[in-house]
């Protein structure tokens, strides 16, 4: 499904951390295409490898981590083949990133203006004065009132939401083609969350960039994404457009995630959970990684790892239930039968 309309194509990305106990495969064969001008969400619980995937795209994996294999094509060029110097020209310029913690992502000793100017000076070689006036423009763009005064302020004088806006201003200062937002709203309260997401979406439309939105919040995904990749234990288990994903989730894990959301249309005393935990990196099951927690798991699931298969509607799912080799109940409907299967 890769074509010219994709700004980024991740193929079979493998990123591992080499620790004393051996190799930890944080990202294990992730393939993902980011279409131009669209927002792709990556969801998954902690440790599923979503942040490591994005850090791999930026080539910011630090020791003892290493990108072991695969390719990341950005406009036809493999980022994994670039030198560090070439990557520095891409980071913050063509591909930008927003981090989770706006409170700590700004250097406390420099003013907002200095920090926005810095990225402009690095990539566009503007003079200090021009960079500063561009900084004012950027602050205006991200909706910060009285930007002329704000550029002279220091990070500790701004609230969390303001700082995240500043981070966005910094990230967008050089008109990147791709913005990676790593849980940009997790540290913010709900009303500010909505504002920041709206802002990102609005800027995506007006600047025509693509966005990778990493989150564990399905509500955020439903609101903002065009496509969604669900990750589990270092692998993509389902990739679908956002409507299909919420209407017809296919992978039992996705269904489990949806089920565990609190519903306001049902009277619930307890939230549904997915039993068990993500397998520890050293103890990955041989077959499907979700099999130990999956209410539908059959023999083939525990023994063989399924591929990411294309379904009839053009989406992808990594589950034996949708293959011809499925040896469990042939009539199973994951979405409808999840609760009954779980209680058995």
């Amino acid at each position: 499904m890769s074509n010219d309309a994709d700004v980024l194509q991740i193929q079979d990305l493998q990123t591992s951390f080499f620790v004393d106990d051996g190799e930890v495969k944080a990202v294990d064969g992730v393939s993902l295409d980011i279409p131009k001008g669209k927002t792709v969400g990556i969801v998954g619980e902690s440790g599923s490898g979503k942040s490591i995937t994005s850090m791999s795209v930026m080539r910011l994996i630090r020791n003892p981590g290493r990108i072991k294999g695969g390719s990341i094509h950005y406009n036809g060029e493999d980022l994994l083949q670039k030198t560090e110097k070439q990557m520095q020209k891409i980071r913050g310029n063509k591909i930008s990133m927003i981090f989770q913690e706006p409170m700590t992502s700004l250097n406390p000793v420099y003013t907002i203006g200095q920090q926005i100017s810095e990225v402009i000076q690095i990539h566009q070689g503007l003079s200090k004065k021009d960079a500063l006036s561009k900084s004012v423009e950027m602050l205006e763009l991200v909706g910060i009132p009285s930007p002329k005064d704000r550029v002279k302020q220091y990070p500790h004088e701004l609230s969390g939401g303001m700082r995240q806006r500043v981070m966005i201003a910094i990230a967008l200062a050089c008109n990147p083609e791709l913005l990676i937002a790593d849980e940009p709203t997790t540290a913010l309260d709900v009303t500010i969350q909505a504002q920041i997401l709206d802002l990102i979406n609005e800027l995506r439309r007006s600047l025509g960039m693509s966005v990778i939105l990493i989150t564990h919040d399905l509500g955020v995904v439903a609101e903002t994404c065009d496509y969604v990749a669900v990750m589990y234990a270092g692998k993509v288990v389902e990739y679908a457009d956002v409507h299909t994903l919420f209407k017809e989730p296919k992978h039992p894990y996705t269904v489990g995630l949806m089920n565990s959301l609190p519903r306001h249309d049902m009277d619930q005393d307890e939230l549904n959970v997915i039993e068990g935990n993500v397998p520890k990196p050293g103890e990955m099951p041989e077959g499907c990684r979700f099999a130990p927690r999956c209410p539908f798991a059959s023999d083939i699931c525990t023994n063989e790892l399924p591929d990411l298969m294309e379904t009839e509607d053009g989406n992808q799912v990594r589950c034996w239930i949708y293959s011809e080799k499925w040896d469990g109940d042939p009539e199973v409907n994951v979405k409808n039968d999840y609760q009954t299967a779980r209680s058995q």
């Binding site: 520095q88 913050g92 930008s96 409170m103 700590t104 992502s105 810095e118 690095i122 004088e157």
Partner: protein, 297 residues
């Protein structure tokens, strides 16, 4: 960093946190009476070093052998030495030498130590191991012994003393800066600037260095005391400043021979060393408490 108050943007000129911070530090420093006394003494010493020589009645080398080994009097406040030189004038003249050694050797040590520490902490791995083991080797020697070795190799002179003292002060800076760098480089804003395309040197010098500055300042103040003491020790052994330079350690050494018949010859230079070293030490301690309130407990 805990406070997140937003000030009215237009109404008030944004406060510069460097100035605010300096004000806070000064406030905390003022509460520490001993440290303030140390600080005022240091300022006084600097003043004496700069203008003192113009006010004292004698030059450092002016001899009057007929008047040798005189006790303190109205004419010679601290008495005279074995060549009849006025000890008070010599101590005032020697002040600039002492401070010069202290400041300059620590300055050199800080530059090298900071670079080594920041590079070791930032890059980690093999570079860290090599640099820090080298520092450990230097630390394994007692400071004065290392300085002795350096001066013996290079020859006895004031500048070589400075160099020797600098060499053994480098590891102290390297270690403290490496520690702070390790902490700062894990902070999210360092990742953030890297994600913006900043190179290593920009990250090190523009983003890490300003954030590891306060331990450097504290260390420098405390190290000046050590440097002065070591330099005096070297001069005492005849390996530092050469006669007739009024270096305090050398004066102490002169007085050693007359310690029973004219104790004041050794007493006053010794007292001068004690007071200067004490001033730097208590000021450094107070500065540490003021710069890092968390460390106090």
């Amino acid at each position: 960093m805990a406070e997140t108050t937003i000030k009215e943007p237009a109404a008030k000129k944004p406060a510069n946190p460097h100035i605010e911070n300096a004000k806070n530090i000064f406030k905390r420093l003022k509460k520490n009476k001993a440290a303030m006394a140390g600080g005022i003494l240091i300022l006084f010493f600097i003043l004496v070093a700069v203008i003192g020589p113009y006010f004292v009645p004698y030059t450092a080398a002016e001899q009057n052998v007929l008047n040798k080994l005189q006790g303190p009097s109205a004419e010679h406040w601290f008495g005279t030495d074995q060549l009849g030189r006025d000890i008070f004038s010599r101590i005032v003249h020697g002040m600039s030498i002492t401070l010069y050694i202290g400041f300059f050797s620590v300055f050199i040590a800080a530059i090298f130590g900071v670079i080594i520490g920041i590079v070791a902490g930032y890059y980690g791995g093999k570079i860290d191991t090599i640099l820090m083991r080298l520092m450990d080797v230097l630390l394994a020697f007692p400071g004065i012994l290392l300085a002795l070795a350096v001066v013996t190799i290079l020859g006895a002179s004031l500048n070589n003393v400075i160099l020797a003292v600098a060499v053994f002060s480098v590891p102290a800076f390297a270690r403290i800066v490496r520690g702070s760098t390790l902490a700062v480089k894990e902070l999210e804003y360092i990742d953030a600037v890297r994600a913006l395309g900043a190179g290593d040197s920009r990250i090190i010098f523009r983003h890490i260095l300003p954030n590891v500055f306060s331990p450097i300042i504290v260390q420098a103040t405390l190290r000046i005391a050590t440097a002065i003491l070591t330099a005096a020790g070297l001069s005492f052994l005849g390996l530092g400043a050469q006669p007739p330079k009024p270096e305090w350690g050398a004066m102490l050494s002169d007085g050693r021979n007359y310690i029973f018949e004219a104790g004041h010859v050794a007493l006053f230079p010794g007292l001068a060393i004690v007071i200067v070293v004490l001033a730097f030490n208590i000021f450094g301690d107070g500065l540490r408490d003021a710069l890092d309130p968390k460390m106090k407990s």
